[in-house]
Amino acid sequence: MTYEVATPVYDGPFDLLLHLILKEEVDIHEISLLTIVEAYLAEVSKMEKFDLEVATEFLLIAATLVELKTRRLLPSRENVDLDEELALWEQRDLLLSRLLDHKTFKDVAGLFSSLMDRSALSFPRRSGPDERFAELLPDILEGVTPLRLQRAFVRSIMPKPPTSILLDHVAPIGVSVADALLELVETLPSIGRVTFRELTVAIRDRIHVVVRFLALLELFKQRRVDLEQHERFGDIVVTWIGGDNMNFDPTFDIDDYEG
């Protein structure tokens, strides 16, 4: 089963997610949450003006999607932690309500468009008082001199200073899951067995850790690695089981839409 994802222009990852879920002929199992997560990371990295609130929202949504994906990939456990389970349901419900909001406001936009089209057919009377009332009008040019006018002109042609926030403390996200995957495929076979903590010890940026974790999940799905976690919050042991044969393109299989 193949379909075009690139043809329609999506207005961001939510639009894409909504489209994928609501497109009935597509098996819902096929939905690539990873694509959406990557779209979010791309959104954050291309943000014109870094806004912590906006970035946090995106990362929260991305994290929820990661968790949902993790659940589907990993076999269900027998002893489920109730708090953890509740937190996940809460996150999922939040995401669900946002998707519903998104859909709702897309429909409201249609109403706004038709209201605007209708009101554009009438033009308001806006002429103001005519010259018979001129002497009643306060002199708004009181105190305005040719020099002030000149200064106002100079000020108006100036580029407005962009309101910017210092970004020194925020590292740009420069790594995609595909990149992380390539990196792992290059290093893991020679190491054989390693813990996730060791794999990420040199990474200071949390988002890079997330990206690397997603890459590991991909390898797990492709049966190139085995993952073990002996206790909750315990370290994850990664074992390379892909053999020495590197004759596959590790990026080829990432959540593509081939059935």
Partner: protein
């Protein structure tokens, strides 16, 4: 009609003429309470006279109409003859608004006051550029700051927005409940975001 009533009606004629004259020199919708104050009449009387005047214009078949928009009364050209007026007003500023801007405006209109981050959470994209355009057009404005620790700037719609949509007030918008997606959509979304893998024997490909 009794004599008393026709006396009142005669007195009203003067008020109605004054109303027409004021609306003729106004540059934006005129608040009924200002009209009430200037014409020394209760607001209810002003509202009644304006609505009567609007009816009179309609039945006389004028090329203009009296409407209540953005909380005030204004005279405007009749939509029937828009084609002629458009020829006259060639550079009308009613530029078309993008789909992204409409969706953003929809969110702000129903959820105001709302921060940029909250808009982003629903839109799923950074609304910065679109919100600056909407602000430059005068459809939205900063209405305060959030009480929370971030003290995010909160946005709301303006009277210009109401004028652009031809709405009397924000309450004239239909209830958001009318737009809530139907059960089929909700079900599909729940299924798409399900936590527990399906019980059926099919293989999970994620």
């Amino acid at each position: 009609m009794s004599d008393k009533e026709s006396d009142v009606a005669r007195e009203d004629v003067e008020i109605v003429r004054a109303l027409e004259a004021i609306l003729m020199v106004a540059m934006e919708p005129v608040d009924p309470s200002l009209l009430a104050q200037l014409l020394e009449q209760p607001v209810a009387v002003i509202e009644k006279l304006c609505s009567g005047l609007a009816d009179a214009y309609r039945s006389a078949g004028h090329g203009f109409e009296l409407v209540k928009v953005a909380g005030g009364y204004r005279l405007q050209s009749h939509p029937d003859v828009a084609a002629y007026v458009e020829r006259f007003v060639l550079d009308s500023q009613q530029a078309r608004i993008s789909q992204a801007a409409l969706e953003t405006l929809a969110i702000i209109a129903y959820k105001q006051p709302i921060s940029r981050g909250q808009v982003a959470a629903i839109r799923g994209v950074d609304p910065d550029a679109v919100m600056r355009t909407l602000q430059a057009r005068g459809y939205i404005t900063e209405v305060g700051r959030d009480d929370g620790p971030g003290q995010a700037v909160m946005y709301g719609t303006t009277p210009s927005f109401l004028e652009r949509l031809g709405l009397e007030s924000i309450d004239a918008l239909p209830s958001i409940a009318e737009f809530v997606p139907d059960a089929r959509v909700v079900e599909a979304l729940e299924q798409g975001l399900r936590i527990v893998p399906q019980a059926s024997g099919d293989t999970e490909q994620a």
